[in-house]
Symmetry: C2
Subunit: 775 residues, 2 copies
């Protein structure tokens, strides 16, 4: 743990410059607007250790796979997010010396991410090798209001000299992914131009022909007004710049306003891309810096109004949870159903910016509760649009008849990953995608989603499960062989309880959905039956037979579900028995040793009990929790939240809080020594769930919002906002009571501690904790 | 199957030139002398499809591993055999036209591998684009008598023209491995020189600093005498050549005699390497072509005298079995315990020329029975010398206290392979290495090997097993979790029967060996106990406890051993149920489908029953054979021989013969469409076993040689030679009797069809088949 940041409720603050931590800070201070994003690289040159990163959502590259030993069925390509144009660059030259923090003496440095208003700011004072001192204040944001616009205000003060300063804003598209399997550059230039202060570089990806145009313009103010110097422009392949040289006097300041627009062929016809990019730029220039910043702040104000969590009595926790909400909204705003949430968002290259089951299992609840309903719906539509590819993916593996296997890792619906034990065997992901449909319908009440889209996906997934099982004559039951569950510290196991359970659950829900659609929209149903060649009677009978005869591994003695066949043959140890120096085991043990140990990477049986909590009694939850939690090493950032929520459900408040702490400030305190590669965006949604579903005990039961909150004793109070079926609700929990406020204009029926309540519009209602007794 | 070769008892013959088959022929017609070898590439230039290959045994390169997803414990390097100097090259230029079979019209072409005398010959007649016709006869061999010498006799006849011919013998060390992970060249030149007709290139490997020097000299005869032209020499980095131009008349012939010596720093001090190489070359030149060929033939004559198998009534079978014996001896002669047997020998790059468990499980019996005893002993010493590395390898995976895990794939004792399911889990290889010691002692009677070397290895392997098991409270037995058995179509299984069995067997044998050594050489024993810190009482007690409490999966109903836990949960199908177009399944099914199917790649339970046949009654063998054979797809060339031998043991003669046929001409008829990459050298030893141990029923029982032969009804007779404890014995089997000849000068006691017999020196004895009745 290397906590070096200043605690603050609304800001992330780094005081003093430590080049060793620069890559970490570049990740943590990343900014984005859901369409594009970037690491907190410096505008001026920096010759020290840095990972430069500018990413445009939805623009990716199918990099040729690197594999040791090929297996049939592996994909040839791994789609990865592309490092795109660097548009932030402003070279500063002071009488022949470059401003570069790696070679200056840094007297003062403060980096600040203002989460409330959504901008990144650096203020620093440096002494150049020539002893000239300058002060810089740089403010940057990617507009939440205009998705293709980025803005920089960069102020320089000469502190102890008079001299000539050359300022060179530029766009550099000659970028490279750090993670490129064959060390290629992925972009080639189409054209570029630079005239006076304005220029652009228009480039295409070497495969798939995505076009991205990055344009910039700027002006400089001195003595409060724009300077009128004729700039020198320069250009080369994939690069344009425009320079101005000015004389500065001691204690005088000049300010560069740099405006950029970054547009892609996802949203513009290629033939008009340059023109449109310049139009976007023009409009931004015309609006001016202050207006752009104001719009941007307003957009963030709205987000916070609808999704903030306030924690009283614990600044670190307050900062941590806001950082999570902030990064999630910087990564994905839900306006475009072609986009999704990479595990690192726009904060790094790792995991290729691709979509994992993280989206459905962890992120969906966050967006469902904090954003307008179309946002969660867009997350579902993303998968709906990939259905045909998922069917083709299953066909590659020998499945037929419209069975779908969604990929483990994807950008455009095609599988990208190639480890057989994951690609081919971690098939539970298919269940999470089905469960997301259920979860969405349960939360929003929009059963009509099943008619339009949901049922088609559910049938395709159910068909997969129906083929993936086989009947064991030995057990006289259906079994699912050769799988990897959510716990990736087991590979190629038989009868992973979670997988067997989610498979049957999917078939049950598909049957229920089919029955709903056929009753409520018979014409649509008939249409679908024909479209997907659905042999209802035969297929549903088969599903029912499988559901009724599925085998689930259990330990009768301890009355717990078994993670998989043979789990009890392992040497039974507890995570606490592990020597400290051997943790995390994935850094200290060889893979075979991990595999044959009983240790669990992330929630597996408990993931199932979390999803299907209402199907199990509390004793069952408790026995399984008590068995699995001590065996779980939580070496995935996605794990503790699920355990925390279950602990909360079981009244184990201390445990719930301890588990929450494991990810609450995962990146800010860099627990895992990997923040330099980017932030754990998807696990941030899990942390949010720990608060709202764990501490807050929020559930949807019988179409009603319900709460069963408690407060960690370390906090004075906490409050969260959620949206539920057109209501905005705030819940504040103190040590004595829960105050629910209905901020909408319609009555709200809800349940708190098993009491049914009604709250009038704009009213609040308090329920004391002691009323929870006995639940 | 593309049989294009002419059947012949002693030769492999290709009539007519088919460029499409050239790579296959290059593999099949490979020559070698156990120290070095080469593919049957052409001496003259060839611009068509070819895989050039010249290999020097024991000289390898640690190529940087290519891996998709790194796992803790993976090795960083994969040692691979190096493509070394091309010393065969002789460019032929006829009045400005190069002789190149890819651009000539080939009127006649015959390639012949004379297995009896050990040389490769081509005779061909071509028409150049200019319509000039020439005839060539090229004979080449790598001397079996002088391990560093290669010789070529290359005769050209001008058929229809008078003209000038330029002949350019050369050495080219600027070679590349086709299989190089990062496309590097592995050699750098140290120096080279060429004067008159003689030159050399001396090079070192870029890693490990192996030096290899290749030198050549030549002369040309015309009209029956050496021509005295002053040659033109040429050189460049890693290349030297010397040319002579002569006038030829129609129907006149000239002959080039090219001599080469190839020496390495394995056998010469680096500082004298060039000098020594030139000395070897000098001596070869002084001896001359005829004497060198004669020595070489004599060496082969001895080999055949001691190891030939004669099959009467089936030329294809005769050719097949001799090809196998020939290639095995070209690959490994056993003179140098630093060398071993790569799966492709010197016939290709695949598998990197490294050592696998193939050596112990398949090759050892061949060399034990057909060569002097030191040969098999050298194969054991190879592993003895790697013991320390095997201990380090186990330490990398978390084992302690002198436990050894021999690598899956190795050149110098370090693990080269990186697939977790194989590298870390296919640990049964450790058992095969222990079993080889037992097998050697059983065959040779040299129990003193245990004192000097064997026990130390056995204890280290037993220690590994004792740590690799864990006690299952659930089963109240020891289990071995997370392994891959010989059947690589199952990965990461629990309680692979074969692995559990060979683990216990190793511990049993280690105990027996310890007891033998402590009784018969107490001082040596005490020395060893101290050296390896052997806590006899505690360790042996522990082994005994494990042996007595080991869990073995069985199916009580069918009374068969189960390949692993859960095997019967699979959908039970037979290989015959598979559609023809889906075989081999490894080319048609995705990996997960293969894994969860019941299909077996190669003998697994049956491998164990083969090794430990004498511990099981015939009914047990039969039940297991009947269960597993129909489920085995034999997609490893190492599989059918084991099944064939068991079938023979069980009296299923037709089945034994069918299984034998699957590999008898595997490469000659290119069953698997992969002969172009090289020959299946190690599986050739398996085919040999099918004849001698299968049809011949040879076993060693209670220190006695025993036979229980039958004859496939397709054959008139077959005869094989073996060496057994200083006896050379020949056995001839006809449809009515077995004739055993004792070719040595000492009496031989043996058992045929359970009858104890004695044969006097130089005498034969016949036993009729009907005497076998009832066994």
């Amino acid at each position: 743990m290397k906590q070096y940041l200043t605690l603050d409720e609304w800001k992330i603050i780094e005081e003093g410059f430590d080049p060793e931590k620069n890559r970490i800070s570049e990740s943590l201070f990343s900014i984005g607007n859901g369409r594009m994003g970037q690491r907190a690289n410096f505008e001026e040159a920096y010759s020290g250790n840095t990972l430069q990163g500018n990413y445009v959502g939805g623009v990716y590259f199918p990099d040729k796979t690197r594999v040791g030993w090929w297996k049939n069925g592996y994909p040839e390509y791994f789609a990865k997010v592309l490092n795109a144009a660097n548009w932030i660059g402003i070279d500063i030259d002071i009488e022949g010396e470059a401003l570069d923090l790696a070679i200056c003496k840094v007297n003062f440095f403060r980096r600040e991410l203002n989460m409330k208003e959504g901008y990144l700011q650096r203020v620093f004072e440096v002494e150049l090798p020539s002893t000239k001192k300058i002060q810089v204040k740089a403010t940057r944001f990617l507009s939440m209001a205009r998705h293709e616009v980025g803005v920089i205000k960069y102020t320089i003060v000469a502190l102890n000299f008079n001299g000539r300063v050359t300022i060179t804003p530029y766009i550099d598209f000659d970028v490279k992914n750090q993670d490129a399997n064959y060390d290629e550059k992925f972009w080639e230039e189409i054209n570029h131009n630079v005239e006076y202060t304005r220029g652009y570089v228009n480039a295409r990806t070497k495969k798939l022909d995505f076009h991205v145009c990055a344009a910039m313009d700027y002006f400089i103010t001195q003595h409060g007004s724009k300077v009128g110097i004729t700039p020198d422009s320069a250009d080369q392949r994939k690069y344009i710049s425009s320079s101005m040289s000015l004389n500065m006097k001691s204690n005088e300041e000049i300010t560069v306003y740099k405006f950029a627009s970054i547009c892609s062929s996802l949203n513009h016809p290629k033939e008009f891309l340059v023109e449109n990019t310049l139009n976007v730029l023009n409009n931004a220039m015309l609006s001016g810096y202050d207006k752009l910043l104001d719009e941007h702040k307003q957009a963030w104000e709205k987000k916070w109004r609808e999704s903030d969590i306030v924690i009283d009595g614990d600044v670190a926790a307050q900062q941590g949870i806001r950082f999570n909400i902030f990064q999630l909204y910087q990564t994905y705003t839900g306006d475009d159903e072609r986009l999704n949430i990479g595990p690192k968002g726009f904060t790094g290259e790792k995991y290729g910016g691709s979509t994992y089951w993280d989206t459905e299992a962890y992120c969906l609840p966050f967006y469902m509760s904090t954003a307008d309903e179309y946002v969660a719906r867009n997350l579902l539509l993303y998968r709906y649009k990939h259905l045909q590819k998922a069917i083709e993916n299953a066909e590659k593996l020998g499945f037929t008849g419209g069975a779908a296997l969604y990929p483990m890792v994807t950008m455009n619906g095609e599988e990208c990953h190639n480890e057989w034990e994951i690609t081919f065997e971690e098939i539970h992901r298919n269940g999470a995608i089905a469960y997301a449909i259920f979860n969405y319908v349960r939360y929003t009440g929009h059963k009509e989603y099943l008619i339009e889209y949901g049922l088609e996906v559910l049938v395709a997934i159910a068909r997969f499960w129906a083929q993936r099982v086989n009947f064991s004559r030995e057990k006289n039951k259906y079994v699912i062989l050769g799988t990897t569950g959510p716990n990736e510290y087991e590979n190629n196991v038989n009868n992973n309880w979670y997988t067997n359970r989610i498979a049957c659950w999917t078939m049950e829900y598909a049957m229920e959905a089919a029955s709903y659609v056929s009753d409520s929209a018979p014409e649509k149903y008939t249409e679908l039956v024909q479209k997907i060649n659905f042999n209802q009677t035969r297929e549903i009978d088969n599903w029912r037979h499988i559901i009724e005869n599925m085998y689930y591994p259990v330990d009768e003695k301890q009355a717990v579900f078994l993670q998989q066949d043979g789990y009890l043959d392992k040497e039974q140890m507890l995570a606490d028995d592990l020597p400290r120096k051997e943790r995390p085991i994935n850094q200290h043990w060889s893979w075979d040793r991990i595999l044959r140990s009983c240790f669990i990477k992330q929630a597996d049986v408990l993931q199932g009990l979390f999803f299907l909590e209402d199907q199990y009694d509390k004793d069952t939850l408790l026995r399984n929790f008590d068995f699995y939690e001590p065996r779980t090493v939580h070496e995935s950032s996605l794990s503790p939240c699920v355990h925390s929520i279950l602990a909360a459900r079981l009244g184990e408040e201390e445990k719930a809080y301890d588990l929450y702490l494991r990810t609450a400030r995962l990146d800010l305190d860099d627990y895992n020594n990997e923040a330099s590669e980017g932030c754990h965006i998807t696990s941030m949604a899990g942390t949010w769930m720990s608060v709202v579903m764990g501490f807050g005990g929020m559930r949807i039961v019988d179409d009603k919002l319900t709460f069963r909150p408690f407060i960690p004793r370390q906090w004075k109070s906490y409050a969260f906002k959620i949206q539920f079926r057109s209501h905005i609700i705030s819940a504040k929990v103190t040590s004595v009571e829960v105050i629910i406020t209905n901020q909408s204009d319609r009555q709200l029926d809800l349940v708190v501690f098993d009491q049914s309540l009604t709250i009038d519009p704009e009213k609040s209602l308090a329920v004391a904790h002691h009323q929870a007794a006995g639940t």
